[in-house]
Assembly symmetry: C2
Homo-oligomer: 247 residues x 2
DNA sequence: ACAAGCAAGTGGTCTAGTCCAGTATTCAAG
DNA sequence: CTTGAATACTGGACTAGACCACTTGCTTGT
């Protein structure tokens, strides 16, 4: 066990400890049976104060990797669940993590004034300029979803000059416009495919589809994106991980 | 502002501070504009150490009520989202929070041996005993969902003698069997109503429905419940709050 | 008028302890 | 053999400080 923490690193000690323990758990060095060291033992082993290892352990707990019992100890949780959608990824990232190859067909990318619903989602004046992006999302070259996205034009100028077939929209927003996704509100409902959507997704009119409406926010709670995605019900299932009250 | 913390209370100080600040935010005493006190100021005001108010503030942040910027300060987030499904509530709690009156019609409650899928979900031997519960869930006396629930029989003996039309299943599990829900994995998909479900929900065959499969776990990651809920698409929408990396 | 630099304030990190409330184990008394 | 008390652990809560990186706004010298 390499106990060496880099005290001069940009990464804080508690994050380094979190990472080290994560690795050991994933490598099976710390298994579901009890061999997990106590807070005091870890503090000594890493030569840090107990509060610091505590911070790391609380993080691991809220990530669902361990659980703790007062008076007893800390244990590795034997999760089977994919820690998946809870990480707020976009379509591309999600498909990749499922082992599929994502691609997009851009059907429309125009600059227009925001409709009422969009202005409300993005917290804009009623007639503010937005980009209106319509894409057919494919996985392994099969149509998977039809997506309509609205983005505030003043947050990402010249978005229309970017090749969205290759790059993930979220990558572009992060790297080019320094817009960091922080949290999102999603609502999901079942619906019957309209004629237009059915044609796009190559399914029958009236076939069930999963409609996801998502608004993505920055840390300062500024709305970045409002998206409306219609998935083929036979190819897509949304999965979530819910937790009660982890600190 | 009542700064009085009960130091002899069972509730820890940081939780009391969290609660106090929550109330002030909801009451509008702390608004989205900047008047939020700094950590040091709060520490002095509550007569606690800075680490203690910090714990409260981190909790408020991970709940999405505030956001923080290093070198700048702490701000009230102007959420519009219902802090809702992220709290892992059951059908009853969810309906109540939507202002509807939940009720149930128990269609079946039997003790049987676990099918393969159920045994897998609940981490049981193939032929272990389970309770099989089928309920029609109503909101304001209108059919909303059809739910099939499986529970491991050895975790909640004599479940068949409980009146499930009145009490929430989760309340019973918590109070009677000391089973604390801690986290859950959910998957959602759209489907077309089968004849049986259509009859139960009073909709047409083939109408879109939202099918939610949920496995609920205790803190020690022991599976407690496996549920399969079919919602009327025209009356129900699932909402989620996703966050990236709040500590 | 402007830019550079300084100081004050903020959240983030960390320390080295203390005390408490649970939980196991051990061991002795009944 | 059982019960009960002591003990030695665990995680949870809390303190009173420290230093750092970062932002902002004020001041001062050109």
């Amino acid at each position: 066990m390499a106990d060496i923490l880099r005290r001069d690193s940009a990464m804080p000690l508690h994050a380094q400890i979190t990472e080290a323990l994560q690795l050991q758990i994933k490598a099976g060095e710390l298994k579901a049976g009890e061999n997990f060291p106590s807070e005091r033992e870890l503090a000594e082993r890493f030569s840090v104060s107990r509060m610091t290892v505590r911070q790391a352990l609380l993080r691991l707990r809220s990530d669902g990797l361990i659980y703790r019992e007062r008076g007893v100890g800390t244990f590795v949780a034997n999760r089977k669940i994919d820690v998946h959608t809870r990480n707020l990824s976009g379509f591309s990232e999600e498909m990749i993590s499922l082992g599929l190859t994502p691609s997009s067909r851009v059907l429309q990318l125009t600059r227009e004034t925001a409709a009422e619903r969009v202005a409300q989602d993005l917290d804009l004046e009623p007639d503010a300029a937005v980009f209106h992006l319509e894409r057919l999302r494919l996985a392994d070259d099969e149509p998977m979803a039809f997506e309509t996205t609205y983005l505030s034009a003043h947050l990402c100028p010249q978005l229309d000059s970017v090749d969205l077939t290759v790059n993930s929209l979220y990558e572009i927003l992060t790297e080019k416009y320094n817009l960091q996704m922080h949290h999102a509100a999603e609502s999901l409902e079942a619906a019957a495919a309209t004629r237009f959507v059915a044609a796009q997704l190559d399914i029958k009119i009236g076939a069930p589809v999963l409609v996801v409406h998502r608004v993505v926010y920055s840390e300062a709670n500024q709305p970045i994106e409002s998206a409306h995605t219609t998935y083929r019900a036979d190819r897509y299932r949304a999965t979530f991980y819910l937790s009660k009250n982890a600190l």
